[in-house]
């Protein structure tokens, strides 16, 4: 299996507080990997390291090596905008831009100087890939915030997909959605996997079980156990993992 994204000896500090402790993890290409663990264990923090979202936090300090293929993500020579173009992100709460459905997708394409000829085509296929096309095709000028929560989140996924990234990071994308919308998004993740490498943070253990090929269990800033979904849920090696997936804490 080809490794797409990796972290090696990763430590992260907020001020003096050490949040992530010596993380070593590899994410395989065209696979879905879930990060699970109790609140505050650092799963979202870890996820946000890969597209350098901590650059915005003034007192965050990162040590270690993170790589996208052979590219060093934190190398000063590499532009952060280029890395974020290649590693898309979907957030916990749907955060459509205060623009129309169409502009939500065209905005990034314009920023990255796609030719205006191919933009409509790219937008259509991204919306189709996100199972949103049929619901919005008649009214692409509608403000994105007028969509339902689930539609908004699929729009946010389409917004990430439209740039043809290599990796998509998802930070609890279903946590604010109802079961039907969640279902749609899980289907979507499944179908996206053939083109993208997906890393997803989730609180929902059933969800991790349903959608992921591999699962990493995190606790207090460390990766406690990392393995195939089957192994983590059916045959966990670590006592903590066993308790967590067994529902004894979390």
């Amino acid at each position: 299996m080809e490794i797409k994204l990796s972290a090696h000896s990763l430590n992260l500090y907020f001020g003096k507080k050490k949040i992530l402790k010596n993380i070593n993890i590899d994410f395989d290409k065209n696979q879905v990997t879930s990060l699970i663990g109790p609140s505050g264990c650092g799963k979202s923090t870890l996820l946000r390291c890969f597209n350098r979202m901590h650059d915005l936090t003034p007192d965050a300090k990162i040590e270690g090596i993170l790589k996208l293929d052979y590219l060093d993500i934190y190398d000063k020579k590499n532009s952060v905008t280029d890395i974020r173009r290649r590693i898309g992100m979907v957030f916990q709460k749907p955060n459509p831009l205060p623009k129309s459905v169409y502009e939500n997708l065209s905005y990034a394409l314009k920023i990255h100087q796609f030719s205006s000829k191919e933009i409509p085509q790219l937008i259509e296929s991204a919306l189709k890939e996100s199972y949103l096309w049929d619901e919005v095709k008649d009214d692409l000028k509608k403000p994105a915030v007028k969509l339902s929560g689930g539609q908004q989140q699929r729009l946010c996924i389409a917004r990430a997909v439209v740039l043809r990234p290599e990796v998509i990071l998802m930070d609890e994308p279903c946590s604010s959605l109802d079961p039907i919308s969640t279902n749609k998004i899980e289907d979507l993740i499944n179908s996206l996997k053939k083109d993208y490498t997906i890393v997803i943070v989730t609180h929902n253990m059933q969800q991790a079980r349903r959608i992921s090929d591999k699962v990493a269990f995190m606790y207090l800033g460390e990766v406690i156990e990392f393995g195939t979904t089957e192994n983590i849920f059916k045959n966990p090696q670590n006592e903590l993992t066993k308790n967590y997936v067994g529902g004894h804490f979390g």
Binding site: D82, I83, R84, G88, F91, P96, L97, I111, A160, L163
Partner: protein
């Protein structure tokens, strides 16, 4: 029972304060409008003052105040909004930025007459701009800066971080995110602050006293490097400095009415913008 009485007392105190504020405002407005409204007509706002200002209109003062506010805007808005963007979007929390913020808050507390003296020293004398609309406008601009910075920063702060993350995660630069997402979204808030600040600046007397306002100018002047007449100063002068105060009293009230209406119009625009924003809030 005791709780009920306490609740009643609270209610009376609160509603009482509100009523007192409204009554005071009402009395002031009634007094000014009842005495001044009769002298406000088309001629009053479209003619020059005549016969030692005992007759005629206040057109030069209206033009002066408009010109003055225009220069104030030109100077204070770009610097003020730019500073707010820097402070809220770029500046990392440090001792320096804290000092900058504290200085801005302190600037807002400086009495306006001090701005007048400072403007006299800096713009009129050091920069040799003379007593002129330009000097006075720049002085009022300085006075407005802290308010514009503070309100613009508050408006920017209200834009949730998730909105910025949305575009940054798509690989836009911070500048593009600010230009395309943050500023357009914060614009109504920023505009409201600007308009409220300007409506306050337009009514200031002390800062323009030494920097360019004149008792009387001959004819109409649209030049920025000449002295000018302004509504608040005209009012001050008519009500305290004129030889025949009794005779010009209606004109003074009329000027007050015009000034209040001007400020009221500006405030209504601010109110309208805020209302629009709330109704289309994403």
């Amino acid at each position: 029972m005791k709780k009920k009485i306490l609740y009643l007392v609270n209610w009376i105190v609160l509603i009482g304060s509100t009523i007192i504020v409204c009554v005071v405002l009402g009395v002031i407005l009634y007094d000014i409008f009842s005495k001044g409204f009769s002298s406000v007509n088309w001629n009053f706002i479209s003619e020059l003052p005549t016969e030692g200002m005992t007759k005629g209109g206040i057109l030069p003062a209206i033009i002066g105040t408009t010109l003055l506010t225009f220069i104030t805007t030109l100077f204070s808005v770009p610097f003020g909004v730019g500073c707010a963007i820097y402070l809220n979007e770029y500046a990392k929390p440090s001792i320096l930025t804290n000092i900058i913020r504290a200085s801005i808050r302190n600037l807002a507390g400086i009495p306006s007459i001090i701005y007048g003296l400072f403007g006299l020293a800096l713009f009129v004398q050091a920069f040799k701009l003379g007593t002129s609309v330009l000097s006075a406008g720049l002085t009022l601009g300085l006075l407005s800066l802290p308010y514009i910075i503070t309100t613009a920063e508050e408006a920017l702060k209200r834009i949730p971080i998730s909105m910025r993350e949305a575009t940054l995660a798509l690989g836009t630069t911070q500048f593009e995110t600010i230009k395309d997402i943050v500023l357009p979204k914060a614009l109504p808030g920023i505009l409201t602050g600007i308009i409220l600040t300007l409506s306050r600046a337009a009514g200031e007397t002390a800062p323009i006293l030494f920097t360019g306002v004149a008792f009387y100018i001959n004819g109409l002047s649209f030049s920025v490097n000449k002295e000018f007449m302004a509504l608040p100063y005209h009012l001050y002068m008519l009500s305290t400095q004129h030889q025949s105060i009794e005779q010009v009293r209606p004109l003074a009230y009329g000027t007050a009415v015009v000034l209040i209406l001007l400020v009221f119009i500006l405030n209504s625009i601010a109110f309208y913008i805020r209302f629009k924003q709330n109704s289309t809030d994403y």
